[in-house]
Structures are given as C-alpha cells and as structure tokens.
Symmetry: C2
Subunit: 385 residues, 2 copies
C-alpha cells in the first residue's frame, strides 16, 4: 500500500502523540486520575470556544452533540428557524423536526453563504406571524459545501431581531481551526467534534451553552436522557460524566490539546488559512471550478466540481491507488463534488502533495490539466497567505 | 505508582493487542477498509449474541444502546413493564419514562434476582387491567448488585403471558462473558457495551434486534434520530453507520474479537465462571458478607457488604495505594458495597491478587481478617470451578 494521505474533512490524521495516547491502558472513570483528565480537557477547549461557560464532552459523534443542543433547550412545537446552506444545515433541521419543533427552513443555494438581510427578513416574518423563533440553528462551517458562514454578522442580525432567541451553532468542522468567539458573538450553544480540528479519532462531541440557554433548559420539555446536557453540566464540576465516557478518547484529546497549546491559537488559525488558500489556488490553477463562493470559502474544507464528463468514482479510484483519500459530494451533490479536508494536523506541504496527486489522477482519466500548475500555485498561495 | 489492577466492572483492562490497535492511524469511515471492518466486527459478535439478526454498533456508552432499544421500538403511552433488580434496572425504566412510556415497575430487593412467578403475576395484572405490556425491560446481569437474572426462565414466562411483547434486555455486563442465546430465548433487543466483556475502551454500544422488534419499529412514534436503529440497520449492509463512527474503537474491537475467537466461546465462559467462583470464595473466606443471592451470583461482578463500622472511603484508599481499583456501591447502596469486576481480560490469578490486596487493605484499617485465608480459598474455588 502506498503512503496514505487522509485529506477528508474528518476523521483527520492523528499526530504521533495522539496515536500513542490511544494505546494507554484503561483507568476507572470514577477515579481521581480520570476526574483530573475530564477537567483538564474541558478547560483546555475554552480558549478555542472563547467562552466563560463550561465545555461539556459527550461520548457520541458530532451529530449527537447537535441532538443535545436541540433536546436540552427546546420544547415540541417551538418555532425554530434553520439557516441552511448545505447537508449539515438540513441535518440540524431534521433533528429539530424529529423532536417536534416547528421548523422554518431558510435555505440558500449550496456553495453560497447565508445572507444576513435574508435572515433578518425571515425572522421578521416569523415574529410578525406570531411565531418568534425560540431558536435559530446556524451552521458555522458547512462541511458538505466548503462554505464558512459570516457568523458574527448573522448572529448580530438574529440577536437584533429576536433578542431572546437561542442561537444554536453547528461548529463541528470549525471550532479549533478558525476563529470562534462564542461569548463575544453572543452565541448560546456551540457544538464541535473530536475528529475535526482536534486531531482525535471520532467519538467525542464537545458542547458549550450560555446562561441564556441554561435558563431555557429548565422549561424545555423535549424528551431527553443520554443527550441531556443538564446532567453533563452537573457532573462536570466533579470531573465526571453522567454515563461511562470514552476514556481512551479523553487520553487522546488531552495529548492533542497539549500540541495545540504549544503551537498557539493564532498560529493554528494562520496555518488553516494558509492551507485553505493553497487548496483553492491549487485546484483552480488545474482548471477545477471551485464550488464555494470565494468570499466565504472555508479554511477547513475545499470543494470543487467534478469536471463535466468525468466520473467521480473513476477519478476517486485514481486518487485512492495513489494513497489520497478525499471526500466526494453529499446529499444532492453526491457524485458531483470533490472535497479536500484541511483541518487538524495539516500543513501547506500536505496540501501541495494532495494537489500533486489530484493532478496525477486527473491526467490518468484524461482530463486536460496543465502539468505542474496546480502544485506551484498551491505552494505560492499557501506561503503567501 | 505501584502496578495497577483495574478490577471494576468496566472499563476493563485492555490486552496488549487491543492497546496496540488503539494507536492506529485514522482511515476514512466511508472507504473500503472501514466498510470491511464494520462488517467483520458486526459478524464477529453474532456468536456471543447467538442470533441470526445483525449486530449494530453505535458510538455511545451502553446507556445510549439502552436508549436506542427504547426509542426505536416504542411509542409514548405504551405500557411497559420494567423488571428491576438494581440501579441499571432503574435506569432502563427512567429512559422509557423520559420518552413517555407508561412504565410499571416490578422491583425486587437489591441483591436478589427477579422471580419468574412474580413476573408472571405482574404481566397478568397488566393484561387484566387492559394494559398488556408492549415491552418488558429486563436486566440480564445487574452490575450494581452482582446478580445475574435467570433470563431464560424469565423470558419463557414473559412470552407465555404476553406473546407479542418485546423483551428488551440490558446485556451490557453480560454478553461475551456469560452464555446468551438471543434467538433461542426469543429475546427482541439485546444491548451490550465495548468496555465490558469485549476488552475495548468505552464508546461503543452493540445492539441486535429481532424481526418482531423491526416490525414494531415501523409504527413506533417516540422521537428518534441519533439512536434510530432503523438507520443503523439500513446502513450496515453497506458497511456503514449513519453517523461518523468511533473509528479507533472499531480497530480495537476487531483486535479483541480475534483474541476471543482464538480462545473460544466456551473457554471464555468457563474462565468467567472460575473467576466468579474465586472472587466469591475469597471474599467469604475473609469474612466479608456476599451481597448477591448465592443462587444468582454473577460471574462478571461480585459484590460484598462493607463490614459494619468500616468506612468505604478509607478502605478504598487502602486498596488504591496498593494499586487495586475496585468499584463501590451505586444508588441506594453507595458507600455500603465493594464490587470486584471480573469480566473481559481476567484470570483466576488476577482474582487471587485482588483478594490479597483486599486482605491487606482490610487489615490496614483494623478489620478482623484471618491472614491468607481469602487468597487460598479464591485459588481453590477458581481452580475447582
């Protein structure tokens, strides 16, 4: 097997220290060592959420974290506005609907970011109709399209139009890789997942909630048990989780947080911005049509259209035999997109390598790609960013 | 730090091969390698569930598996009988209640098993009252008390009195360690968890469901999303999971299942029976009062009363400084029990070591223990079993 280049938007590659931590022996999850570990992991994430609230760690995928954000704070029948720009926006709405929320969808074309004025209009219409949203669901970074929403301006509009609404943010593929200011932007619930920026295998969802959210939890009546964040909040000061946690993943998260602290938050964000610039420039120079609106292109995942006449599956086979694991399209873009993940343990060199293999794969299926243009452009953009 | 002896009923110690698998690099969870891994892990568990149904693997603790068993198959208002013999029986009922089931509790004294005739009477009373149970919740092995229910005879009575009821079984600390015959006993949903007999860190719940259960799922109306087993069932033939799975834990489960297959199911069960006999004999010979009814004492966890006048916390400190991690009491038995876990990667030698340390700890706080009696009795019972 050739060297493997895992360039999907999660799970992301594990640094050596994180791999090593995965082989640690178990300890009791009610014992003193683990209690300290829980607290250290939770506190270690505050600088990336930028919140004074506690960060809770659930044993589930990111989707479980989104479910927790819904069921802990809402009641059946609650009007909810979902601002959707892709597959994960739709999923967030599906969760709310599954639990009986009265969901209004505000959908934007895939590849585009949400427009703040359209969000304003949607909320005004709901308010005028007597359906003031109890919550607004927003995706920070839409993994399926490679678009990052202008979250600060969206949050500002939402708060202005509906001061008491809960702003629930899917930050799964964003937090820890691009700037997040949970408190300053006045967000109420922010969710992320271990296998993204955090460089940890999947299985942990991290969630923080504002005082406004906790006040709502008391009266919220959606049924909840495993994903009841109140139980998580109450267990955390004791260094515990309400149910048996994924102990091994906590060891790995601890190791990853040490690496992140050593690198520094601003350096991490700059590295992701450089990788994003490199990926976009490399694909564009090869002649791929970038799918995301350039003004809102994501620095954690880049998407491009599969060229007309090319078959995604055949193209992907060429990548795979060369060791490159990319992601394809999701939902209605299945078979029509290629997506490069660049979050977590990734450098501009890694992106240049990925672009080189994409070039080889494209040439192998006969696409008209100018040799060497992509990698050179990726290198220039990544180093200039 | 002295050598550590992790003798709690989960997480259980990891064999070397399972630790090693924990350090593997990530792969894409939609790629061909992982698809094969999912199928291999699922099929590798059938011999321990003893079912022709598929074993689904969820990313959650065992409690999440119990929630899946409730929300996938039941509707709000459904009459449910919960046969409870301890803390986890109560939890199973709490989950059903949280989602609106109309739960009737049939509780037995902690330390006792459920009585089949009392179960029969409870069902008859529900049927006579027009509340035929849609489901009966039963704990196979009650971790909080160290009691194993006589599941075949309970299932027989339940099926005789309510032929269409769904028998939902919490097998978390049982399956893979003691005999389970899901199909022969006509059980409908069986749940277990990675960190028990399976020798894997916590974070995976495994669930199998009968054709009778799947038929009920179509009409079931409890809200469900993350724990919707229908989505898991439909994804499994493609080697997928509906949400991003805990990839690293699948690597570890795969390694553990290979060890289990090499040892052989009957040998595994015999080893657990020997460890159970050793633990009970050792504690009794030291003068500890065993908590579980001897006829139904568990072969995966042994409980004994903290002697009158002794303080659990002080006693536990003596164990901990000697490297022994035991569990205490849960729920209403908090501070009143000590529990030795002996499931997964455990031998009679390990139990003798634990009994030796318990003896040292007991002597250290001044309990009147006859020196050397416990370890000798444990050895004899373990080797004679």
């Amino acid at each position: 097997m050739p060297p493997q280049y895992l360039r999907i938007p999660g799970p992301t590659p594990l640094p050596d220290a994180v791999r090593k931590a995965g082989s640690e022996q178990m300890v009791g999850h009610r014992g003193p060592e683990f209690m300290e570990l829980v607290k250290r992991c939770s506190e270690g994430m505050n600088p990336y959420f930028r919140t004074a609230s506690d960060v809770m760690i659930l044993t589930s995928s990111g989707t479980g974290g989104l479910e927790a954000a819904v069921v802990t704070f809402l009641s059946p029948g609650d009007p909810v506005l979902t601002v959707s720009i892709g597959n994960f926006g739709e999923r967030f709405a599906q969760i709310a609907r599954a639990y009986g929320a009265d969901v209004t969808m505000l959908e934007f074309d895939w590849g585009q970011a949400a427009d703040a004025q359209a969000v304003r209009a949607a909320i005004r219409e709901m308010v005028a109709g007597g359906r003031t949203p109890v919550a607004v669901q927003v995706t920070y970074n839409e993994t399926s399209t490679g678009v990052t929403n202008p979250l600060p301006s969206l949050a500002e509009v939402i708060r202005a139009e509906a001061p008491d609404t809960l702003i629930l943010v899917d930050g799964v593929s964003a937090v820890g890789a691009i700037p997040m200011e949970m408190d300053a932007w006045d967000l109420d619930v922010v969710v992320t997942g271990a296998q993204k920026a955090w460089m940890v295998p999947p299985g942990l969802a991290m969630v923080a909630a504002s005082p406004r959210a906790w006040a709502a939890a008391d009266a919220a009546t959606m049924p909840r048990f495993y994903f009841d964040l109140v139980r998580h909040r109450d267990a955390l000061p004791k260094g515990q989780t309400p149910w048996t946690p994924a102990v091994g993943l906590f060891f790995q998260l601890d190791a990853a947080l040490r690496l992140m602290e050593a690198e520094g938050r601003e350096a991490i964000y700059a590295r992701h911005a450089a990788c994003g610039a490199a990926a976009r420039a490399g694909l564009a120079a090869m002649g791929f049509e970038l799918f995301a609106d350039p003004d809102n292109a994501s620095d954690t995942v880049t998407s491009a259209l599969v060229p007309d006449g090319a078959d995604w599956s055949a193209l992907n086979d060429e990548f795979r035999v060369r060791g490159l694991q990319l992601a394809g399209g999701q939902g209605k873009m299945k078979g029509r997109l290629l997506r490069i993940g660049h979050l977590g343990d990734v450098t501009v060199d890694d992106i240049v390598t990925a672009i080189e293999i994409i070039e080889q794969g494209a040439l192998a299926i006969g696409l008209p790609v100018e040799p060497a243009a992509g990698p050179a452009a990726a290198r220039r953009a990544g180093e200039g960013a």
